[in-house]
Every structure is written in structure tokens, then in C-alpha cells.
Subunit: 358 residues, 2 copies
Amino acid sequence: MLILSNEDIEKLLPVGACLDVLEEAYRDLGNGMAATVPRYDVFSPTKPNEFYEYKTMSGVLPGRNIAALRLNSSIVKWYEKAGGVRKDKLPVAGGDRFVGLVMLFSTETGEPLAIFPDGYVQKLRVAGASAIAARYLARKDAKVMALLGSGWQASAHLVTMAMVRDLKQVNVFSPTPESRRSFVQEWKGKVAAELEEAGSAEEAIKDADMVICTTNSISALFPGELLQPGMHVSCVKPCELDVTAYKRSDPLIIHWREAKPFQIVVGVDPQSIPDVAEGWQHPITRKDEAIWDFPTITQLVNGQHPGRTRDDAISCFCNNIGLGLQFAAVGSEVLARAREARVGREIPTDWFLESVHP
Amino acid sequence: MLILSNEDIEKLLPVGACLDVLEEAYRDLGNGMAATVPRYDVFSPTKPNEFYEYKTMSGVLPGRNIAALRLNSSIVKWYEKAGGVRKDKLPVAGGDRFVGLVMLFSTETGEPLAIFPDGYVQKLRVAGASAIAARYLARKDAKVMALLGSGWQASAHLVTMAMVRDLKQVNVFSPTPESRRSFVQEWKGKVAAELEEAGSAEEAIKDADMVICTTNSISALFPGELLQPGMHVSCVKPCELDVTAYKRSDPLIIHWREAKPFQIVVGVDPQSIPDVAEGWQHPITRKDEAIWDFPTITQLVNGQHPGRTRDDAISCFCNNIGLGLQFAAVGSEVLARAREARVGREIPTDWFLESVHP
């Protein structure tokens, strides 16, 4: 069994490396040839205002002979920032670190194949999904992109979006001027497009063909009225866009038809947990707003939805919830490359097998 | 992080070792102080009549600071035997082995603590649940036990049942005469009770105070009319008892209020999978038979259900579905003893931590 680190994987896989395998996984899922096991979150109080959060999701991708588990075991807290509630993971594992793991299994022998942290692949799968959606939804001649956010997901989206459209200019906005400045400085010259700092979300969006939201904000980044005919907009969390943005979008494509993860709360009133009480309360995630009727990315890649059909449409991709299957897809690529490059630490698979079964 | 084998654990924990921690876990679950994450099974065809089966369940037991994942990654097939359909796991992992793993995490730091096979602990948790239920349901003066089955679970139940009642005689029946004979020979003298071979289920049950079913049969082991006032009956699978047995039982206690695991089938008609089509179709597992209204073992141990109140009642415990939480309970005991005895293989926890988080 192979043990890999984020650093190992980053060397093996450029950010845009998994678009093909992800698209293949969505296609198989849409055709009933792959499976995704829903996400469950358990919250259990540890100290006042601190919680243990245990999170699992899984996927089986027979086309690549891979099953994947993704598991997070974290200490979290919520705090007020900039008028909103933010959630933070506390680095309380040894060496001030975190625990998020992906474990891969063979669908041919059942054997465990690899285990690695989820940090780097998380970027790949989210930015991969957004780019695949943009491939079907953005205008073919889209040249200007508004990039809202300047963190990890912003950089990943910058790379994957540049793979699916011939970008000439990227307007970067994030509320902290130093953050957007250092983002532009870091990425200038690394992509073909010109990078420009924008003083506001409105300024970033004004002449854009694509508006790409990549923040961890739990409130809307701009008023939906700012969207113009012909634009494509996408988000990594439903709450980054307001109701107007969703209502003006047609087509509106979602990632998957689960309104929210299953949540189990131990020992306290569930409503005292912001993720339960508010985190998923955006209209787009509510059952009564008929999220079930929106087409998903699997229909887009399967040709069951035509994607963009008019130049003047506002198209939207809402990355409403992650899928365990994405980890099987990205994981199969990680594994293939690690084996080829002989990277990682091998421990005997033998340690994880048994001669009896229940 | 500690890696343990079935053999390590068998040396550390006698079969009856986990009754206390299991009872504690049920109590916490009933009080909303512990969580269990439902079981999901994914079936994906590999060859004609062979399937990859991926199975997960989890539990969080804050009272012991432990979260546990139990994961099975197996190749399975179904076949006809003795007029019924049986399911078999194929030993196709290296060295003709199987893959079933338990992984433990700390709810204080999130760190992975241990990983070990599920085989031996599976016995402990199932036989543990049956014995805890019998403690509340069987007559205090129960002396004669009918043990139906002669396999792994039969031996585990023999031990745990002898811990909760002062057994004088055990009547062992299983359809293959050699199996029941060798079971009696193997266990004679290892428990205080006399072991007797029975020529039929009826003969085993006749004078019994407890009727304990421990088979992997998917059809009823005896007609429910054979049960007599004052008896306690329990099963490890709902289908071991017929509708009459359930209807005559009062109180009838179930393990947990999930009618069946969630099942996801890839690539074929779900009805072609016996586990989906038939395996859980017993009336007791059907929603329309109101399984939701039966009290659970958590209510029994919490005093929310009085248990047996009359000497002439027929009581029943139906171990209808396993719980991820059981693995957290048993796992916490495994871990404590392994640490104390310094048993197992230590690998650096460091390999499983990350300095970033998604």
C-alpha cells in the first residue's frame, strides 16, 4: 500500500491534470456506471464553542477499478468575521496539523491501494468541476474572467479555467487589498492572460465574460443584478451567489442533487451548530426551492442537457456539494502517476488483509 | 498509529470483554451523546455473477474520545445451497485473503489512532449485543439454552450468554451433524454448562429458556409456534425467525431503527442483486410492518423500556442491523488494551497528517 503526501501529489499532478478523468466519472455516474456515497457530518462538542467534526464520503468508479473513501477528522470552531460567521479548523493534530485522508481500494481484489491527505486533491477536484462545467456553459469566445477570491481555490480555478477558454484578461477581486495584490503578483506571467487588480466585485465583473467565485464566504459576493447577458457565473458554495443571480440564470446547472450533507449532532441542540442552522440555508439548497429539478453536471457531460444554446444567456454552475466519486476519479490519476514515477512510501498491503471474514 | 491483526486482538480481548463498553455506547446513543452513521453498500459487477461490494459505516463515541470507521472492500457472489441463496466473499486479496478494516480516530486531536481487521471484533460486537439484550429480557433463572448454529457466532454467543445467565445446559443444533458434533467436542469443558447435541431445532428448543440463533441462513430456522411462554429468543439476522415468532413476542426489541442498509447498485438491475431483492425482505425489516415502532436496545439499557416484566412472556431481541458505533465501542477497548500490553506495529502518525486543509 502506497502512502503519499500532499507534496508528493503536487509534484505528480498539475492542477489541471484531472479534468479528463473527472469528466469520465461524471459521465459514468450519469449513466449508472459509477456510484457516489453521500456525505455524512457528525458534530460532537469538545470544549465550549469547539467541536469534533467527523466527515465521510465515498465513491466507486469501476471504469478505473477504484473505490475511494474520503474522511475528515477535525476540531472546528465558528467565529464572527467581517459581519459573518466563519468556520475554522484548528490544527491540533501532532505538529499543528490537520487530518483529512483519502483511501483507495481496488474493485478487482478489494485490496487497499493507497492512502494520502485530501488537501491538494481537494483543489483539483473543485477547480476541475468548475472548468468542466464552463467548457459546456461559457461562451466559446469568453476572454475576460472576473476571479472573486484570492486563496487556494482562486489559484486552482485560474489554471483550470485557462485550460478551457482562451483567456486574455483576469480581474481579481478579494476584500483585502493586500491579498488580491499578492495574488496578482504571484500569478502574473504564470498564465497567458493579463492579471488585473479590481477595486470591487462590481469593477471585476463589469466587462467579464465569466464570473468565477472561489471564496469561503457564507454570504453573497455581489448583487445578481450585475450579471449581464452572455456571462457565465460559477461558485464553489451556493451562498456565494444571491437569489437574483440564480433566478436570472438559464441554464442553471448544479453539481449533484443533494440539498445538503446528512448531519448528526451529539450532545447539544443541533441549531447551535452554524453549519446545521445556517450554513446550508441558502434558497438554492432548500428542497422547497426545487433544487431537485435543476439539471446536474452529469447531464451536461452526457449530452442530456444541451448546455449553452444562446450567446445572450446567463449560464450558471453551482458547485452545491462535493461528491465522494470525485476522490475516486482524482485518486485513480494520483495512483497511476505515483506508480509510474515510483513516488511515495510503500508499506506491506499484507498488514491490512485478513484470512477470516465476518 | 497502531496496526493490529486479528491474532493480536484475540490475545488481548476475550470474547466477552466488551459488554460494558457496548452497553455504555448504547446508553450514550439513546441519550443523544453518541452518533452512528448509517451503513451504505455499493455493488458493482466485476464478472458474470461476481460483484465488488464496498461497505462503510461509522460511529462517534465521545465518552471514550473515539470515532471509528468500518469499511469492507470485497468480491462477493451468490449461490444456491440447501434450497436457499447464500452469499460468499471470495478471498481474492493477496494470499487468498479478505479486506475488512476498522480505523480509529481521536475526537480530541482528530488523529488516526489505529487500524485493524474487522474479523475478530465482529464476533465481539454481535455476541455482545445479544448478551446485553438477554440481560434485560431473559428470565433471571434461565438455565437451558438452545444454540442454533455451530459457527463463529455460535461460539461467541456461547461465551457471552454464559456471562449474563447461569447456564446449566446448552442444546446445540445445526443441520450438518458433523458440525454440531465437532462444536460440542470443541467447547465441552470450556464453559460451565453441559453441552448436548440436538437432532433438530425442535429438540433443541423443547425445554430451553433461551433460544439463540447464530446462523447465516436467510430463511427461518424453526416454526414460531415452538416458542413457549417464558422463553427468550434472539437472532443475528431478522430472517432467522418467522413472522409467527415475531408476532408472539412481547416485548420485541430491535437493535436499531433502520429497516435496511442504503444500497447503491452500479451497472445492472438492482433487483438482480439478491441482497437488494431478497436479503432484507423479511416482514420485520419492512417499513410497512412498522419496524419503526419497536423499541431498541438503547431504550432497554436506558430504562426507557422495562424489559421483561412477566415470567410467562416470550421476549425477543432481533439484531436487525449492525451499527458503526459498535466498532467505536469495541475499538476503544482494543486500543486501550493494545497500548497497555504494547502489542501491535507502530507506524508514524505523521504520515497521515497534513499542514493544509481544504
